[in-house]
């Protein structure tokens, strides 16, 4: 009964922390999916006086250029065909600049966009750049904000988990202080005396990871029950269960042992 009580008191903060991590993973994945979606649609338009030598632009703002697509010049000229004389058309053809759409391999941040703008401005053949930064900023800021909020919440929950687990470890030491004192009088190390709590923490970590993995399996099979239809495109996440299980177990063990060894170190520096 006591073992079960101890187990539950360790599992609750761990499960909460692992759930927070899973939610962070889901949100990050959804944001990444959405970023990828808008990345494939997003392009920077550049206007040049002469045809662009595309090989000279490989990387912009630290992001690899996916492709540079020339905009159809003939189409623009065709729209003036009926309204202008042949001479005027010829003149227009000579003077009409070249339009290009630059696609990137990653969706740029506002900061990266500023660098991209500077880099493009430094190219002599380019005389006009349109980054659509207003729209870009709004969408990107919203995504970045949601991701940051979830991350901050996750960190807060991790800190709380460490705090609660440390308290539980302290309580355990307090409950077993007589036993630990006897063991120490016989020359046992703090680590030896703490063997049961280390085993309990290990067991709690495995159990907590298992509970959250089961949740992930259920969630990935039934995500439509939680998210509405319009979010389906970005919330359909294909979890690699093996990878997720290992990740959760490692995080869970790491947090548990950080807490336990924190308390042990504190106890170890006390005399006797």
């Amino acid at each position: 009964m006591k073992f079960l009580k101890n187990l539950i008191s360790f599992c609750i903060p761990l499960i909460t922390m692992l759930f927070a991590l899973t939610i962070f993973t889901i949100v990050s994945s959804a944001v990444d999916t959405y970023k990828e979606k808008i990345r494939s649609d997003y392009s920077i338009v550049i206007i040049t006086k002469t045809p662009l030598v595309q090989d000279t632009i490989d990387v912009l703002g630290g992001i690899k250029v996916d492709k540079i697509v020339p905009m159809n010049r003939e189409k623009i000229l065709a729209s003036f065909k009926n309204r202008l004389t042949q001479n005027s058309m010829k003149f227009l053809d000579q003077r009409l600049p070249y339009f290009y759409q630059v696609y990137l391999t990653e969706f740029p941040s506002t900061y990266q966009l500023e660098i991209i703008l500077d880099e493009l401005k430094n190219k002599p053949s380019i005389y006009q750049i349109e980054t659509f930064s207003k729209n870009h900023n709004q969408i990107y800021s919203l995504l970045a904000l949601s991701q940051k909020i979830v991350f901050i919440l996750y960190i807060i929950i991790v800190l709380f988990a460490i705090f609660i687990i440390s308290k539980q470890v302290k309580i355990w030491f307090y409950e077993h202080k007589e036993r630990i004192a006897i063991m120490k009088l016989h020359g046992a190390s703090v680590l030896y005396s703490a063997k049961p709590i280390i085993l309990l923490t290990f067991f709690s970590s495995v159990l907590s990871s298992l509970v959250v993995v089961v949740f992930i399996v259920i969630f990935s099979e039934n995500s439509s029950l939680i998210f509405s239809e319009e979010l389906k495109d970005i919330t359909t996440i294909h979890f690699n269960i093996f990878y997720e299980s290992i990740k959760l177990l490692v995080v869970s063990l790491f947090i548990s042992f950080i807490s336990i060894f924190g308390v042990l170190t504190k106890l170890k520096i006390k005399p006797n």
Partner: protein, 220 residues
């Protein structure tokens, strides 16, 4: 071997319980530390296993000086000592054989070897019929026999006993004295016992130290 040279012991900086203590307890000796209550007998015994800080002087236990002792050396000293307390200090959540196994496991013996030794010692202290019992299910005398069994389980160089018969009736006290005498005579373990009353007709050569006003002296 316990060697004290000009030792000063105290719980606080100003009031010394033991002042300028000098003595030498040789291997295989049986030594009583006597004196009236509050004179510092238990404090002196505690200093042997590093439970109280040595303020001044040198105190050597099995060749290791307790002055400015490191944590690992303190563990080393404690692993080579068996301790018997007046209040037994048995782990109540553990069975009696698990309690006897404790020093063996701490000294690195396997579970199997430790268990076998615990059973052997339960026979030795005539409590083999109590295997699987918890300390609370035993009488005070029986618990103290378990404590003695635990103290000799790992064949230590020294056994320290603090008023081992203080809570026991005459019969149980005699059993405990016989066990401690046996440890000294048959196993060659140095035994140091703190007691305010040395048993009559002890039947074994022993030395007696006494403490008065913080001064340790030999009783002839």
């Amino acid at each position: 071997m316990i060697k004290a040279k000009d030792i000063y012991l105290s719980y606080d900086k100003d009031r010394f319980i033991i002042k300028k203590g000098n003595f030498h307890i040789k291997n295989k000796e049986f030594v009583f530390i006597g004196g009236t209550s509050g004179m510092g007998k238990s404090t002196l015994l505690k200093s042997f296993y590093g439970d109280i800080l040595l303020r001044h002087g040198d105190l050597e236990i099995n060749g290791i000086n307790l002055k400015d002792i490191s944590s690992s050396n303190l563990k080393k000293i404690r692993r080579d000592i068996g301790i018997v307390f007046q209040d037994y200090k048995l782990i109540k959540e553990w069975t009696i054989e698990q309690n006897i196994m404790l020093p063996l496991l701490i000294n690195g013996y396997s579970q199997e070897v430790s268990y076998a030794q615990a059973i052997k010692l339960l026979n030795h202290v005539k409590l083999s019929h109590r295997v699987g019992y918890y300390p609370a299910e035993l009488s005070g005398g029986e618990q103290q026999r378990i404590a003695v069994a635990r103290a000799i389980a790992h064949n230590p160089k020294i056994i320290l006993a603090d008023e081992p018969t203080g809570n026991l009736d005459d019969y149980s006290a005699e059993v405990v004295w016989n066990l401690l005498k046996g440890a000294n005579e048959q196993l060659g373990i140095t035994v140091v016992v703190v007691t305010h009353r040395v048993p009559k007709n002890f039947g074994l050569n022993f030395r007696q130290l006494s403490i008065e006003d913080g001064v340790i002296y030999e009783v002839s």
